[in-house]
């Protein structure tokens, strides 16, 4: 990876951070409604893994904390922000909202609200790939809490039984909302939980993007070449609340501060500065650039876009123009 790519990666992570922070502001301004789950602290996970996959070619699916996975998969951030603003120009035409971003053009197959729901869908994408004979893989990003759903165990069994090309990425941020992992799960090392299903698995630091990328490269290669599932656990932490309505009472300030010292953006920035790839000044400029882009292009686009028309409420309930062979 050369310096240009390294700078691009840092920019992507910083962009993700600023994008999410801007969403929080827009939520406070009541431009965004509903539930809003933000990604700060976990940027190296989605960005690091997808850097080693082929976004737009491989299928990607995740839960409700989905903005950055969508963008790294190739979604236009303008379409993401417009969706959060509930606009017709949003990636789901204002019908979905923050938890339900979709962009089939970049093979981002969506964000879903029900914990554990995407496991079988991801295996289904892999099944389709297997049947069609392509070299794509399916990538499923979910949290640690999701692994206590029945769908986790049922899907692991079938994915292995049928040798489906699916990569499960577990972003273990140590909490499911306010419940700490050890209060919900016996085996807190998630990658050990797939052993009985004979799925290759590993665990690594999710805060250092270089570590994430090197582990992800192995995982992606395994799935792509062997046409078998793989389970990758990334140890990470969310620096903000679970959603916008989170008092944070379930964890200590010291714990949050300790993880803030392992902020993926500072880790990478420090490394690039130490290698003279980036100066303090470059970083400030990059940051300013990003904030301008978010404000002047992305947020403005969302703000200025039209609302969906109320007359169109019932559009998209069924597939328009699909075949109706019984009509002849």
């Amino acid at each position: 990876m050369d310096a240009t790519d390294q700078k691009r990666l840092l920019r992507e992570m910083l962009f993700a951070r600023r994008f999410e922070e801007r969403c929080a502001e827009a939520y406070q301004e009541r431009q965004i409604g509903g539930f809003l789950h933000l990604y700060p602290g976990q940027e190296a996970c989605a960005i690091g893994v997808l850097e080693k996959a082929r976004p737009g070619h491989d299928y990607v699916i995740t839960g409700y904390r989905d903005h950055i996975h969508a963008i790294k998969s190739g979604m236009d951030p303008k379409a993401a922000m417009a969706e959060l603003y509930g606009k017709e120009t949003g990636c789901s035409r204002g019908r979905g909202g923050s938890m339900h971003l979709f962009d089939p053009d970049s093979r981002f197959m969506g964000g879903y609200a029900l914990v554990g729901g995407p496991f079988p869908l991801a295996a289904g994408f892999a099944k389709a790939i297997q049947m069609k004979g392509g070299d794509e893989i399916s990538i499923c990003f979910l949290g640690d809490g999701a692994n206590n759903q029945g769908t986790f165990h049922e899907t692991m069994n079938m994915a292995s039984l049928w040798q489906l090309p699916v990569l499960f990425v577990c972003e273990n941020n140590l909490y499911g909302i306010g419940t700490a992992i050890e209060r919900a799960t016996v085996e807190t090392s998630q990658y050990l939980r797939v052993a009985p299903y004979r799925i290759a698995a590993s665990q690594c630091d999710g805060q250092d993007i270089d570590v994430v990328m090197s582990e992800a490269e192995k995982a992606v290669t395994h799935v792509r070449e062997k046409r078998q599932p793989y389970f990758l656990e990334l140890m990470t932490y969310r620096l903000r609340g679970h959603s916008m309505s989170d008092s944070g009472a379930y964890r200590s300030r010291e714990e949050v501060e300790q993880w803030a010292r392992r902020d993926p953006i500072s880790i990478y920035r420090t490394r690039l500065e130490a290698a003279n790839i980036l100066s303090e000044e470059d970083f400030q400029k990059m940051d300013l650039d990003i904030q301008n882009e978010i404000e002047n292009e992305i947020v403005r686009f969302a703000l200025e876009s039209p609302e969906p028309r109320v007359e169109d409420l019932e559009r998209y309930v069924y597939a328009d123009g699909g075949p109706k062979p019984w009509l002849k």
């Binding site: 204002g94 029900l114 419940t179 409420l313 019932e314």
Partner: protein, 326 residues
């Protein structure tokens, strides 16, 4: 009488029942240490400990089943599911086990199981967080389904449900937890059967339940003030079993009926009430009954679309005028 919020009334019922009976316990995601998504279990973890206020993993079907199993051998669990949309995951245990075990065992096993769950459209929570499910629950033999429209009933229904030997589903509402109302200070039990006339009237009956009671009452006030129409408002409250006699009795007096539900119309509470009316009082009706209901769409995220998808007091008002030809 004390004024309290819906969530406080639920908390009080939990607290009283847990203090009285050591076999009553509460279970659900984030209900303990975190205090409960809707605060309905706040403080109980500290008071009763982790054996009786249990934070569960995200495993709806199996912790529901664990509650059902415990109920079958004498405990009285109160299981909270964070949103009715997640109760779909618990349907196997609820429908195949909780609802049927008493009957299948020839009455030899009782299942005093309580599930509390909020349903309905709050604020832009999107399609996977805004559905209602009473139409599903009320179609299952063996279950009881109730749904409080006030803090008083939120308290009284939970009290009755815990003491009842049948499985009871209590459907609350995400945007009603902060609703205030009078709750008598003495212990009481709201019936798990029967509807209640909460506003008497002679010109038509508006049947409603849970959040739609508020729309019905608002519309009834306007009808009275603006048009001199006196609507009777009946809170259905118990959706299973539905109060056939009570529903018919009101319409025999008023001869006109309107049903208001937050859910889509097909196979719903309104369909069921209309079926009862055509069976019980076909010749008492002076006009075809009307259902006011949500549009037949997954609830959209966009604020305007969301608003357009669910009914409101204005629609109830308009439907009442239509029924009366005014």
């Amino acid at each position: 009488m004390a004024e309290m919020m819906y969530w406080q009334a639920i908390l009080r019922a939990h607290d009283e029942e847990m203090a009285r009976d050591p076999l009553v316990f509460a279970m659900g995601e984030d209900i303990g240490v975190a205090g409960g998504t809707y605060k309905a279990t706040t403080g109980l973890f500290a008071k009763y400990g982790e054996q009786r206020v249990i934070d569960t993993p995200i495993s709806e079907n199996s912790y529901t089943g664990i509650g059902v199993g415990a109920a079958m051998v004498g405990c009285r669990p109160i299981v909270e599911i964070m949103s009715v949309n997640f109760a779909w995951l618990a349907m196997d245990q609820l429908m195949n086990n909780a609802a049927k075990v008493h009957y299948m065992s020839g009455g030899r096993i009782r299942c005093p199981f309580v599930m509390r769950v909020p349903g309905g459209t709050a604020h832009q929570l999107g399609a996977q967080h805004s559905a209602r499910m009473e139409k599903v629950f009320m179609g299952i033999s063996g279950l009881r389904v109730v749904t409080p429209s006030t803090p008083r009933d939120a308290y009284g229904l939970l009290k009755s449900a815990v003491r009842c030997d049948d499985p009871v589903v209590i459907i609350e509402h995400e945007s009603m937890y902060n609703l205030k109302g009078e709750v008598p200070e003495n212990e009481f039990f709201t019936p798990l059967e029967g509807c209640e006339t909460i506003r008497p009237g002679r010109d038509l009956t508006i049947f409603a339940y849970n959040i739609s009671v508020r729309w019905a009452l608002e519309a009834a006030d306007r009808l009275s003030k603006e048009l001199g129409i006196e609507a009777e408002v009946v809170d259905l409250r118990a959706l299973k079993p539905l109060d056939r006699a009570g529903i018919a009795a009101s319409v025999r007096r008023t001869h006109r009926a309107l049903v208001v539900e937050e859910d889509e119309a097909p196979v719903g509470v309104g369909s069921e009430v209309l079926a009862i009316l055509s069976e019980e009082c076909f010749f008492d009706l002076d006009a075809a009954p009307i259902r006011v209901h949500a549009r037949d769409v997954p609830i959209p995220y966009n604020r305007q679309l969301e608003k357009a998808a669910i009914p409101n007091a204005g629609e109830v008002f308009a439907a009442a005028r239509k029924i009366l030809g005014k």
